[in-house]
Amino acid sequence: MKVTINPIGIQERVDLLNEEAWRERNTNTQRALELAQEACGIAEKANSLNPVLKSSLAQSIRIVALCNQLLSNYKDSLTHCLRALDIFGELNDEKGIASVFSCMGTDYFLLGAYDESLIHHFKALKLREKLNSEEEQSSSLLNIANVYASNNDYERAENYYLKSEEIAKGLKDKALWAKVLNGIGGLYMSRSDNEKAIECFIRSATLKTDTGELRSAASTLHNMGTCYIELKDFVNAQECLKESMRIAVQFGDRTTEGVCLQTFGRLFLVQDRLPEAIDQLNRALYTFEDLNGKKDITECNRLLAEAYKKLGDYKTAYQHLDKHYRFKEQLAKLESAKQIENITLADEIKTMQVEAKLEKIKNQQLQQANTIIAEKNSNILDSIEYAKYIQESLLSTEEDLKESFPASFVFFKPKDIVSGDFYFHYRMGSIVLFAVVDCTGHGVPGAFMSLAGNNMIEHIIKVKKIYEPSLVLNELNNVVSRQFKNEDERITLKSGMDIGFCLIDLDALTLRFAGTHNSVYLLRSGGLIELRAERIALGNKSDQEFVEQSYALEKNDVIYLFTDGFADQKGGEHRRKYYYPPFKELLTRLSATSMDGQKTGLEAELKAWMKEGEANEEHQIDDVTVIGLKV
């Protein structure tokens, strides 16, 4: 038989464990610790980035810290607090952060580090004020009052107790009020107003029992016991201490247990019940030694010395007194050792702060540089964008060509903003002259060359009235050679031009062509005919003459002129050039579609070839121009 286990999700399990641990923290701290640790283990193992689970993990760690505090393991508590703080910080969970600060404040308080304690409690208070949670604010105020009270700053302590009491009363929060009353009782006690103190303690203890906060009733009862000792009411004192002790043992609160034992010792000492006093004090000492509470050990030894002195056992008295002083000295040494350690740490912090600051300054400088360079670039680009308008307005457009050949297209794709490729179109009656020109270079220098080239061709045709393709190119060769005379010997001007120049007589249906590097394709039903261009380097002062080719046209012949940009473009699987034979095939394949369709087809093919938009996209290496026109 198959057993189906309902798998409870990790999140759910962690939350359930946390809830139970929280409920048990005061009644069965050891079990609460184990539950929270289990929750921690599960959440950590999942190692999830999910913020909800992370938050639950931080809660588990905080409960572990709190349980450790309740079990008097303050160091472990602090370590866990720091871990919880990291996670809450990462999640930006201010409520969580405040709760951890509060826990740390209490840890430091119990360790006797009052300054640190205050810092953390105030941090918690600030956050809680921001979060507007009154109950928690009141608890922080109480914690602060407690620290001041222990530091003998009664005025401040009273101030904070009263603030805390006001909120607690307003909220009708009995548990909290009980704690505040305990604190106020302590204040009366320190002013030796023991009757009033006892009054406060009784009310506090009652409230605590009412709200099930039995654990913390132990310290209140202990305080009451101390007051009764002062009032010489030894019977009541003993009752209170007994009850306090019982509760402390029940909850495993060893610190309170030790303190009770010590006060018992004092009670017996006052009553001259010396053997009993010595017995209790020795038990207290044993507990404190176990807890490594040096301050309490010191006090305990003093009381023991006094007891043995009264007993007349001066030797043992001396031994305890000796221990008392040695521990006192040790305490002082510890203080200074801690200070030295902290000075070293402070140095380290200073170094780190300087380093962080330096990096920050560097960061700002780099960002400034970044802005300046970006602005510089954008200025240049603006100027080039504007140059593009000028270029566009001066050179022939697709519309110009469509006036002569309604079925035609211009596929023009510059490499940069401005282009070194251009086309030329001029019509006189039935005679149409047009050319595709590729000036050496691209970008800004290309654009200069294109405008200069365009002007030269216009000049030759419109001013000098030369129309025959071979003659136009001969003249252009002369002009270019003359114009780009190289003034500066150090610079080699690559002022060349590749050109395919056509004259079409629409009446006679003839095509006359001359060109260098740029051939012409003629596509008709019979297939593709190539009119090959010559290889004359235009502008190199050569005396070579251009030769003209004539071809009889038929209606619906399609003529293609182009620069080398398309065939030279790298791409495809092997990152090689497109080459001319595939280019011819492409044009033949596309010839079935309309002229506009052919333009779209060329565009799509080039995009696919360059793998545009893909990770391994190829750069465009030159300006691309292809012109097609149907006769």
Binding site: L334, A346, K360, P445, H459, L493
Partner: protein
């Protein structure tokens, strides 16, 4: 109460503080690395554009007339040229036709790449118009150039095109006795016997309207007279203590003051004066001044 219960161990709070500082440092360091890379990339892009513009300057130089062309006709002359950027929108133009020498100081709108591109175009247009014109008459030429600008560039008006050009154009007869001047916005100064006379150009913006007509100033020349053609860059340059413009009156005085010097010397003085005036100010426009002694 108990106290710290081990051998003076590290304060966990301080340790945490150090940890956070380390994190902060590391964060900045990573961000710095990224920025540095980005800056290098942009610098590289910038450098490659600048190189292409440097190269474009050589092309521009080889297309536009050179100061040596001017010296062929007028041995005592100068061309003061001070571009704002690498390439200039101001250019000097010279053309010989029949018995006349045509001279111009041209200021194409904008500077940098677009201005320079316009200069190449304007140069060709001037060449074409001058070749076609029966008479090398400055106002006729400007009318034609105006037509061309209107026809080609203004066609793109809706794209917010703002090309135009200011020009001071004169023709000097080879006998060196007669001069015709026509200008768009720009003037001609002639210093004759220590007196400066300004001949104002027409207040017409090139390419704005095809119907306007330019007019000519007819001037008789004497030997030793000095002609100055210029763009507005020099007089408009900010500088001095007040950070004002240089303005035209001080410009005229400057020319008068140096008038006795050989023309090449005058050019040096103009540079010196402008260096002092500008101090640490940025140059705001291209500058061009042509000076000729008859």
């Amino acid at each position: 109460m108990s106290s710290f219960n081990d051998k003076g161990g590290k304060d966990p709070l301080l340790a945490l503080l150090i940890e956070n500082l380390k994190k902060e440092s590391e964060m900045h360091r990573l961000s710095n690395e990224k920025l540095l890379r980005l800056n290098e990339e942009m610098e590289e892009k910038n450098r490659s554009i600048m190189e292409s513009i440097d190269y474009a300057k050589h092309i521009q130089d080889s297309i536009l007339p050179h100061a040596s062309n001017l010296k062929q006709y007028f041995s005592d002359s100068f061309v003061f040229s001070r571009p704002k950027d690498i390439i200039s929108g101001d250019f000097f133009w010279i053309f010989e036709k029949e018995n006349e020498i045509l001279l111009a100081a041209v200021d194409c709108t904008g500077h940098g790449v677009s201005g320079a591109l316009m200069s190449v175009v304007s140069n060709s247009v001037l060449n074409q118009v001058a070749t076609n014109q029966w008479m090398p008459n400055p106002s006729f030429i400007l009318n034609e150039v105006n037509h061309f600008m209107k026809r080609t560039l203004a066609a793109h008006d809706d794209s917010g095109l703002r090309d135009s050009m200011d020009i001071a154009l004169c023709s000097v007869s080879k006998t060196r006795t007669d001069l015709l001047f026509s200008g768009a916005h720009n003037s001609l100064y002639i210093i004759s016997e220590n007196t400066l006379v300004e001949y104002r150009g027409d207040d017409i913006s090139m390419g704005n309207s095809a119907s306007v007509k330019f007019s000519n100033h007819k001037i008789k020349l004497k030997k030793g007279d000095c002609l100055y053609l210029f763009t507005d860059g020099f007089a408009d340059q900010k500088g001095g203590e007040s950070r004002n413009k240089f303005y035209y009156d001080p410009f005229k005085n400057l020319l008068l003051r140096n008038n006795k010097l050989p023309m090449e010397k005058q050019k040096i003085e103009l540079h010196r004066e402008m260096d002092t005036w500008m101090g640490n100010e940025k140059q705001i426009d291209d500058m061009l001044i042509i000076g000729i002694r008859i």
